[in-house]
Amino acid sequence: MSSTRTHARKLILGDIRSALKADGDDRARQFIVQKKLRGHARNLIPSRAMLPIDARQRLFQTMLETQLASVAHINNAEQIGDAVGSYLRSLNLEKVICTGSDKIFDAVDWEAAHIARKVGRATGDDPISLSHADVAAAETGTLFLLSSAANPTSLNFLPEHHIVVVRAVNISGSYEDAWEQIRKITGSDRQGGVQIPRTVNLISGPSRTGDIEQTIIMGAHGPRRLHVIVIDE
């Protein structure tokens, strides 16, 4: 069986080359492709993604709110507990959250905030999750969540309420700037292969569907609500 599959690979690549009247060993073509891949040059970036820092942070919030997420601000990471607590109180939710092992949450005094913190991935029974977005992009109010033990992917999708913490300084204007940060964080710029996290989730609001008569209804399969806490320091 594996031989027919190797065969399929050869045939498909051969068909492409004969369609293009091109040669796989053609040095000039290989050079063009390698240059493009290594350079990963930027294309046109919309002007709204290149705003100065204050306007950029305002745009980030406006976009998220337009997409029916809520946004709160705190001064420093120590206030995360209070900010999460007041969100839970405002909706009369149980004070139990599920988070990954992200260091930013280890520094929080959860007891003082009267919140029980479970560390690990989410199961179908966890109603509220808390994640840390390493990066965000203002142009469409988009959070970039990088999978790891610090921020397991299931936290982003299984619970009814998803709370995400992001540092204001990490809010880029464009997707391109956000990806550049990710490349730096994960060391993928260095030679010897790409190390983008297993999953990068770009999240721009709570889950929704328009599949019934094009009416937008919230909470299709993912979280019904997305609450973003921006650390302004």
Binding site: A8, I16, A19, R29, L37, T153, F157, G193, N201, T209
Partner: protein
């Protein structure tokens, strides 16, 4: 999927008299069309981005072999598996084998047109697997035993009332007298039912909106988050993607994402856009343990070699069908195969043969709306015309039509005769149509004149006017200007 494209005319007649369908289709112009226009107006760079997006795709297609090879290397380096499939049957076999070797019982799927194209669900069901579609629209049509009528809104042909009936029929473990009338309760019920399936599934299958050669990522966009549950919870994740989904870099993917959602639903960006790179890494607490990417040809290399190669730039946004007056009137099922609308009129003949799909490239007035809104600048009317040419060469055109066309050709090649005949014709036409009875009834377009009157020609052909130094033309325009100025 079984083809019903050869029944296009009968399908259309049925669709036009289907009250429920006509009611549901009214949502297209108010929904997708209006929302796209708004999204476009909010991004001044939109048109410039579409130009870049199509250049990216054109460049990728010219170097597709090399980008595929790089993509494969990256996926393998991350611990994923890559399979190459020349046909839909091959792809189904590969996927079936993966399910079998993992002792899978339940397969959760997120919406994927390419798996419709290769009829994957039927294949897996015949193997005894339970296949669950998790996109709400796709779930609805699955329980109805239907196929999608739109590439991004598969249940767009249905009204809320129909869906209520289906949920009552299928979810019979729930209380029969429950309230279900609001869309909110329908969504909540589907969430409940499908959540159990997500958690029980052994294998998750998604398509891909894009493949990134640089990193080996497959990219998928949804608003529901269902694709993310499909590719996070089960032990095994399989991506099925046709080879033209490739883009070189993350930056290129970014440019295409900027035009995709805006063209499709009119959103700035889909709620969830996910870049996925292989299986669970050391320390990860979730994510699939085993991942596979199926690279599917199924006719793409043939298209690449043909005069239809531009269609491979398609990113399946659905803008062409949303803006098509024919689609808006007859809906997606009339087209009789997986891809409806103008893109379907170009793709279907290449998959099922022009003999079977003969009517589709003719189901267009060439108004050009599809090409105008296509973010990838695919010249859909030109490609449909090429199919018409092929049909003519294959002598599929009806005898009467063929004779008419040949007669026209004969005439068009003899300018003097042509001019004489048309100028006589014009005069006769003009004279005849001044009689109201005739304006309402013309022998050839009788179906057309049943609903409207034929406009009365001025009595002179363009050529005749031109010879007159445009005398009457200028006169009329001056007259119109005066009127407008008042």
């Amino acid at each position: 999927m079984k083809t019903r494209s050869s029944n296009f005319k009968a399908n259309v007649a049925e669709a036009l008299h289907d009250g429920q369908l006509q009611k549901a289709l009214k949502n297209v112009p108010d929904g997708f069309v209006a929302k796209r226009a708004k999204a476009r107006s909010k991004l001044p760079e939109f048109d410039a981005l579409t130009l870049e997006a199509r250049q990216i795709k054109a460049h990728t297609l010219e170097h597709l072999d090399l980008y595929l090879e790089n993509f494969e290397r990256q996926v393998i380096a991350q611990g994923g598996n890559v399979h190459w499939a020349r046909s839909g049957v091959d792809a189904c076999d590969i996927i079936g084998d993966i399910c079998q070797s993992n002792d899978a019982r339940i397969v959760a799927k997120s919406k994927s047109m390419v798996t419709e194209e290769i009829a994957l669900n039927g294949h897996l069901e015949r193997m005894g697997l339970e296949v669950v579609e998790t996109d709400l629209g796709e779930y609805i049509i699955q329980i109805r035993g239907e196929t999608p009528s739109h590439i991004i809104a598969p249940a767009i042909h249905l009204t809320k009332e129909q869906i209520v009936d289906d949920f009552r029929r299928v979810h019979n473990e729930l209380e029969t007298d429950r309230a279900l009338e609001s869309p909110e309760t329908l969504v909540a019920e589907a969430r409940e039912v499908l959540r159990a399936k997500f958690l029980a599934a052994d294998v998750g299958i998604t398509g891909a909106n894009l493949l990134v050669a640089e990193t080996g990522a497959s990219v998928i966009v949804t608003n529901e988050g269902n694709a993310d549950l499909v590719q996070t919870l089960p032990r095994v994740h399989i991506v099925v993607a046709s080879i033209e989904k490739m883009v070189p870099t993350i930056e290129d993917a970014t440019t295409i994402l900027r035009v995709l959602a805006r063209s499709a639903t009119g959103q700035e960006l889909s709620t969830y856009t996910t870049f996925t790179n292989g299986p669970r890494r050391a320390g990860d607490m979730d994510g699939p343990v085993e991942t596979h990417v199926i690279l599917l040809d199924n006719g793409r290399t043939e298209l690449l070699a043909s005069e239809f190669h531009e269609v491979l730039r398609c990113i399946r946004c659905g803008a062409c069908m949303n803006h098509c007056p024919v689609y808006q009137a007859v809906g997606g099922h009339s087209y009789g195969w997986v891809y409806p609308g103008p893109i379907g009129a170009v793709l279907t003949p290449s998959h099922v043969g022009i003999e079977e799909a003969y009517h589709l490239p003719f189901a267009s007035s060439f108004c050009g709306a599809c090409e105008a809104v296509c973010p990838m600048g695919i010249p859909l009317p030109k490609l449909m015309r090429q199919w018409r040419n092929r049909a003519f060469k294959k002598e599929l055109t009806s005898r009467g039509q063929a004779k008419l066309l040949k007669g026209w050709l004969w005439l068009a090649m003899r300018p003097r005769t042509y001019h004489r005949l048309t100028s006589w014709g014009m005069r006769a036409f003009s004279f005849a149509l001044r009689r109201p009875a005739l304006a309402k009834w013309l022998p050839l377009p009788a179906d057309w004149t049943k609903h409207r009157e034929f406009p009365v020609p001025d009595g002179m052909s363009f050529q005749a006017r031109f010879k007159n130094g445009g005398h009457r033309l200028t006169h009329t325009r001056r007259h119109a200007d005066k009127k407008g100025g008042r």
